[in-house]
Amino acid sequence: MSRRAFRDFMRSHEKDIVRELYDRLEKRPYSNYQDFFLRTEEGLRRLEIWVNLVINGIGRRAETLFRDQEKVAYTRAVEGFSFEDISHVYLIMHSILNEMIRKAGKLHPFHLHDVYSEMRENMFRGHHILATMFLKTREEVISEKMYHLKSLHDFTRTMIENLEVDEIAGMIMEKSRLLLKMDRSFMVLFQNHRVKGVFSHPAGTVDDEIFSLMERSYKTKKALFMDVEGTIHENIRLSRSMRIMAVPVQGHNRCYGILALLTKDGEKGLSFSQMDLLHQLLNVTAIAMENAYMFIELEERQKELRFLTEKLITLQEEERRQLAADIHDNLAQALTGMGYKIQVCRELINRNPKLLAEQLDNLTRIVDDATRQSRELMSSLRPDLLDDIGLVAALRKFMEHFSRDTNIKIRTYLPRHIQLPPEIKICLFRVVQEALSNVYKHADSKTAELRITKTKNLVRLTVSDEGKGFRHVSRPSGMAGMNKMGLLAMQERVEAVGGNLSIDSRPGYGCRLRVTIPIKNGEGVE
């Protein structure tokens, strides 16, 4: 029997060999590698190809088989299969072929030994190539992984120490550019869905196509790859290679920015492990950014608090200074004058009793005046009015004076009477005072509106004007100009009684200040 006859014999049994191999592989316990053959279409096709290549190699140098084995070894090593499992499958195959050879020898007399040893040599050689390539690849994979791990470690360490958002952006841009061997990197940072910063390394402008890819990536929150033809893919495996890529930097429900990378020389492929590392770097970046923003917010809060404390102290000092001045100007001077008059009276007792009576009448008037002044001084320290006549009446009285002094007309929508705990009454009264004084000082409006409504659990206050308005910012501390101090103090006052203050304003559209304060059950009843 010639080699050709043997090959034909084997070919006629090719399907049986594959089936036999398949059956043996099914014996438990089986490895991941067996699983690959049994469970995936690719695995089954691989079995067929392998058997086919072995049979085709009978009687000749099986170059195709060798090249195939080399390719298989690389892929399996990268995919992470174990070499032991691969060898096990090889041994099964080997024993099946041996059985087939024996079967063929019984049917047809031919030089079994030559054919057998040739085929065995091809198989051995194939396996040897596979083994060498596998180990070589494995070594490469390990050293690459080690390199990645080290860079991830170094990166994480420098990253988490940094609290400057811009610097963090710069670091990930540089790192990813070097890692993926790209030419340029870009970063667009977002805050409250607005672009907060655009960076390019090396410095330069961001082309429209890059920017629009980044925009799209921000909208979809997905990594996007653009190839040379300008087609956009979501999966690098589908695009195989790419020219521009854009990836989101995102943490808990928040996208901090989009990183983009560009290669100048046409297209570039990315390995699975490169993408994997990039994602890990991006995760670290997101954490670092989250920290940085938290730090900024904390600092802002602290600054606000410091600012407010200082403001409160100044307010207090100012109040005290004013009080001292009032006492000096009114009471102390009145007392001094009265003291002189009394001394005069004492002298007049003997000298001129008629003049004495006159002086005493005069003195009585001065005492009355001083008493009135001291009463006024007291009530300016605490608006007793609130307790005596109630919030609504006190507000009406205040607004009457305000309108007279400032010529600003106020439309009011107030309930006839309102029952509130004393601290909320004071809070609302002071807020109205401050808000209207802001209207007078800053709004340049001839009218204003005051509205108070109360439900079972809530009291609502609105002060609005149609004045010039200002640029809206979410927190008063972000505002420029004088009135922010007043707003901050108001906010603090409202928050102190568990309420909430919001300001709605735009240049040219007036200002609306809203306060809502929850009322606990029963508190409204006096």
Partner: protein, 218 residues
């Protein structure tokens, strides 16, 4: 016998009145002039008033009593100034003395004492209220230097007029119009004011005169 001519400078009518009545019970004392502020005081001295003694309050609207005293003691060395005030602060006392005041008396002074003090000062004596001596001792002990207010040289009547206008926020041409002077003259006054205060701008000058309590802004 020649009566002692007294001028009262105080911005409270009740005090002015009471003090006048109290002093005029004394045969040899005559209240010849009453002014409601440091500036009014200087103004009436410029015009005609010629008292022997001025009873001067410290804290008043516009020009402070101490600043007015500085000018008076330089320009009218024959007039003797006695500070009559509510304040017992050591700084005020040393400032007043440096400005040239001959006496420092608190407002709760008794009639007999006040009259005696006036006579004493008329005879070239000086008087410090026993209530403030403790404050001065503390003040000197603390090593505080004589008040800042007197480090600057004193202002002339015209300059004080311009200082008041500056604090009120008027521009050069407005000041010129209000004081019936040329813009050129106003500018040279302002230059002198800057030099005396050691400042180089309007806002610095305003800040400094308010800070030094030379002027009490309305």
């Amino acid at each position: 016998m020649k009566k002692t001519r007294v001028m009262i400078v105080d911005d409270h009518v009740i005090v002015q009145e009471g003090l006048k009545q109290l002093l005029e019970l004394e045969e040899d004392i005559e209240v010849v002039e009453i002014a409601g502020s440091g500036f009014e005081c200087i103004q009436s001295l410029e015009e005609k008033a010629n008292p022997d003694i001025i009873l001067m309050d410290i804290k008043m609207k516009d020009i402070s009593g101490i600043e007015a005293t500085k000018l008076i003691c330089k320009k009218y060395p024959n007039i003797k100034v006695i500070m009559l005030t509510i304040y017992t602060d050591g700084q005020y006392v040393t400032d007043a003395i440096s400005a040239g005041a001959r006496g420092f008396v608190t407002k709760d002074v008794k009639r007999d004492d006040l009259i005696e003090i006036i006579h004493h000062v008329m005879k070239d004596g000086s008087f410090l209220d026993p209530k403030v001596t403790g404050c001065i001792v503390d003040h000197v002990k603390k090593g505080t230097k004589a008040g800042q207010a007197v480090k600057t040289s004193y202002f002339t009547y015209r300059e004080l007029e311009v200082v008041k206008e500056l604090v009120a926020g008027h521009k050069d041409d407005e000041i010129a119009e209000r004081l019936y002077l040329s813009k050129h003259t106003i500018r040279s006054h302002i230059k002198n004011i800057f030099r005396k205060l050691g400042v180089s701008s309007r806002s610095q000058a305003i800040a400094k005169v308010i800070n030094l309590k030379i002027v009490n802004p309305e």
